[in-house]
């Protein structure tokens, strides 16, 4: 039986405009010491999509607070239209009761002009190229 807390609330679903940003949580464990540099490996799907938050309904701080251990998470931002500009990727608003901002980036491992595995490697490079920096830098205190 589906968890009603995680079911999409259809009446809340909107089309996210291309100029709007989505926010993505990055656990610090995914970043290797000592450089803590962002890398392509942070783009990964959970249950078929990359989970992000639409900035219309969530601040970067709120996105961070939704993590099991907020202090161990940073937040980055992606412009929706830029993500959609990567072949095979779609950005869909998927609000749930506990998080109206919840959004899915779909298609990371979908076959495109290249087979699925190569497409995924390519898309991760392109996604990293869209990141301009931290919205919340988890290592700020250490810098």
């Amino acid at each position: 039986m589906a968890d009603s807390e995680n079911e999409i609330v259809q009446e809340w679903v909107e089309l996210i405009p291309n100029p709007d940003r989505v926010l993505m949580r990055v656990p610090v464990q995914w970043l290797r010491s000592p450089s803590h540099q962002l890398h392509e490996g942070v783009f990964r799907e959970t249950e078929g999509a990359m989970s992000v938050d639409w900035e219309k309904y969530s601040s970067a701080q709120e996105t961070r607070e939704r993590a099991p251990n907020p202090s161990q998470n940073g937040v980055i931002a992606l412009v929706t239209g830029d993500v959609r500009g990567i072949e095979g990727l779609s950005v869909e608003h998927e609000p749930i009761r506990s998080n109206r901002a919840h959004t899915g980036i779909h298609g990371l491992a979908r076959a495109g002009s290249l087979p699925a595995e190569e497409s995924k490697t390519k898309r991760r490079v392109l996604l990293l190229g869209l990141v301009t920096g931290w919205e919340i830098d988890p290592f700020e205190a250490q810098r």
Binding site: P27, Q29, W30, R32, S35, Q37, H39, E40, G41, R44, E45, T46, P68, N69, L114, P115, E117, E118, K120, T121, K122, R124, V125, G129
Partner: protein, 185 residues
């Protein structure tokens, strides 16, 4: 210290010392012809290639980058509390073999040092080897399943020059080495 007394030296005992090149693939016809003109094509009739000494700093950087990534194999399952799969020693060994072999090939065939990569954790137990250079980058992904293809994607800073494909990790990919060491204006 003798070479065998240093654990790291032992770990890297299979650093290719001198090796004949087997083959490389995924070249288009045009690149093929270009490489033949440049005498970069494998020539089995030639004597085995002698490896030139690495500039110590670059060689140490590559060894260090690969060696430090070994710690990823000790993370286990759900290492991030987000349900992520762990990284196997076998996957890391394939990364090590690939990077060190191609560093050696770069020296022996192109007389140029391979830039130092970073080795990063990716999803589903796979490891990424990433070169992010001033004017281009290359990402090579090693899946946990050793029968699955190693995939790569590279592009220059403007995105109008790209390279992508797959490899088994068993062949020497001079095209990837050339991509990394190319001189651009």
């Amino acid at each position: 210290m003798s070479p065998t007394a240093d654990p790291e030296t032992v770990e890297f005992a299979d650093w290719p010392a001198s090796k004949r090149l087997d083959s490389f693939s995924n070249f288009s016809g045009g690149e093929d012809r270009l490489l033949r003109r440049l005498s970069l094509w494998d020539t089995p009739e030639k004597a085995p290639t002698t490896v030139v000494q690495f500039p110590p700093r670059r060689r140490d950087g590559i060894r260090s980058a690969v060696q430090s990534a070994r710690a990823l194999t000790e993370l286990g399952e759900n290492w991030d509390g987000e349900g992520s799969q762990g990284y196997s020693l076998n996957t890391w060994k394939r990364v090590k073999r690939f990077v060190l072999t191609h560093a050696s090939v770069s020296e022996s065939r192109f007389r140029a040092s391979l830039p130092v990569p970073t080795v990063n954790p990716a999803d589903q137990g796979s490891l990424d080897v990433s070169w992010r250079l001033r004017d281009r980058q290359l990402l090579v992904n090693f899946p946990a399943d050793e029968t699955a293809p190693i995939t790569y994607y590279g592009q220059n800073s403007t995105g109008n020059n790209t390279i992508s494909g797959r490899t088994t990790g068993r062949e020497h990919r001079l095209d990837l080495v050339a991509w990394l060491i190319q001189k651009t204006k």
